[in-house]
């Protein structure tokens, strides 16, 4: 079956203060796949996610999502933008209850409080007992699970995960990984996972992209990426060598 790209990135260049931090001549992300993006700090991984969530327009080139173009000259329509969301390394919860946080995205879309959907999402991340708890009193792992529930309730076509399990204990890591894996399997949600954790990339991803210094060094199926990397820099990174 021919893969169906939901994202096509063409001739992307992105700069901050005149310094180009991302250069991607071409990248396709297939609908329904789990793509892991790995690389050292400062490689441009989070910048890539901001472009994919249409938070920043690329300085050069275009991001095509489901036939809609996003570039420096063209904004993404709100309805299309709302099909994509992000769970970041820091949960960034509102100073409200867990339930109010989970309902936030629904309210933005004009839905009145959808309690069954919110409760279902809260249950999915195992926090039903904390529904009315102030979100800012939760532990790091619980807060990150609320952030995930807040994204799940929106049933996004694409979920972008930026180091979602960094600094979490194994229980919370496993719970989050299982939840996003189920989301992908049951709803064919496209997942783009930025991670420093190569084992996590191996566990979850179907394809892996290696970014180094803003450049896409290698993109391959996960088994090939880890077993027979083509680029010596990828091989070094997979071995755990320092790569600059």
């Amino acid at each position: 079956m021919t893969p169906n790209p939901c994202y096509t990135l063409l001739d992307i260049g992105h700069s901050y203060g005149g310094r180009e931090v991302l250069r991607i001549p071409r990248l396709e992300i297939n609908a329904g796949e789990i793509l892991a993006v790995v690389g050292p700090s400062g490689a441009g991984k989070s910048t890539l996610l901001r472009l994919l969530n249409f938070l920043e327009a690329p300085t050069r080139g275009q991001v095509i999502f489901d036939g809609h173009e996003f570039s420096a000259d063209r904004q993404m329509p709100l309805t299309v933008r709302r099909r994509v969301t992000t769970v970041s390394q820091r949960p960034m919860l509102l100073n409200r209850s867990v339930q109010a946080n989970v309902e936030y995205g629904l309210r933005l879309r004009g839905h009145r409080a959808n309690i069954p959907a919110a409760l279902a999402a809260i249950e999915q991340v195992g926090l039903l007992g904390l529904t009315h708890q102030p979100a800012l009193t939760l532990s790091g792992g619980e807060a990150q699970r609320v952030a995930l529930a807040r994204a799940l309730v929106l049933r996004p076509a694409v979920l972008l995960l930026d180091e979602p399990t960094a600094n979490l204990d194994p229980y919370n890591v496993a719970l989050i990984e299982n939840t996003v894996r189920d989301l992908n399997r049951q709803h064919h949600t496209t997942l783009v996972l930025v991670t420093h954790n190569l084992f996590q990339a191996q566990r979850l991803a179907q394809r892996v992209a290696f970014l180094l210094d803003g450049t896409l060094v290698e993109l391959a199926r996960a088994d090939r990426f880890f077993q027979t990397p083509q680029d010596p820099r990828t091989a070094a990174f997979v071995r755990g060598d320092m790569v600059y």
Binding site: L55, R82, T85, N95, L154
Partner: protein
Amino acid sequence: MCCCLQESEYTSILLHPELFINELWHGLQQAVELVVHGSAPLTEVVLLSLRVSGIALLLSTLLGVPVGATLGLTRFPTHKLLVALTYTGMGFPPVVIGLFVYLLLSRSGPLGQFGSALIPNLFTSGAMIVAQTIIALPLVAGFTMAAVMAVDPLLRQQMIALGATRWQAALTIIVEARAGVVVAVIAGFGGIISEVGAVMLVGGNIEGRTRVLTTAIVLETRKGNFEFALALGLILLGITFIINALMMRLQGKTANV
């Protein structure tokens, strides 16, 4: 109850602390009596104070919160200049603002010359509201700006990532900064309820028309009527305390939404 002091008694109060304490005690008693029994002139002064400062606070909040939020959340070419002007306004002497409003609204002034029904005349409560709004506006805007800027910028980005429009994200940040916004309103209220110079200049302290608590205190003190002035002062303190307590209660409630 009030007794006007002779010059010799006036001097004695300044020289002998025990007399001051005596006056303070009598002032307190008189304040309690005035509040308990009520008096038409006092009620009038208190209601006018609350009306003038209340309307001025409402106007400065309606203008100041969006202005402060805009300064806190956006960057544009004149941003730094506007921030500097806001900070300057926060420390501007109210009497100077009173002078500006006086000159603006006087019959030969830039606004007064039009004689429009929309522009208040000098020596009316409308002129006092204008002056107090201008005094409170930079306080409300400045503290709102600081409150909004204290919210993590990544929160706004996360809200947009969840599908918020720019407006929805800005509103969310203002709601997140609500405790600080309440402080901004409290600061604005504190700046005008206790203010005397501007309202004296543009209001004229006319009995039954523009006399408010602060100008009445000045007048009674000048008359040497210390007990009554103290009573008014204590009532002003009480009103300020009650309103601030109510706002703090609101702040506490909003912090746990």
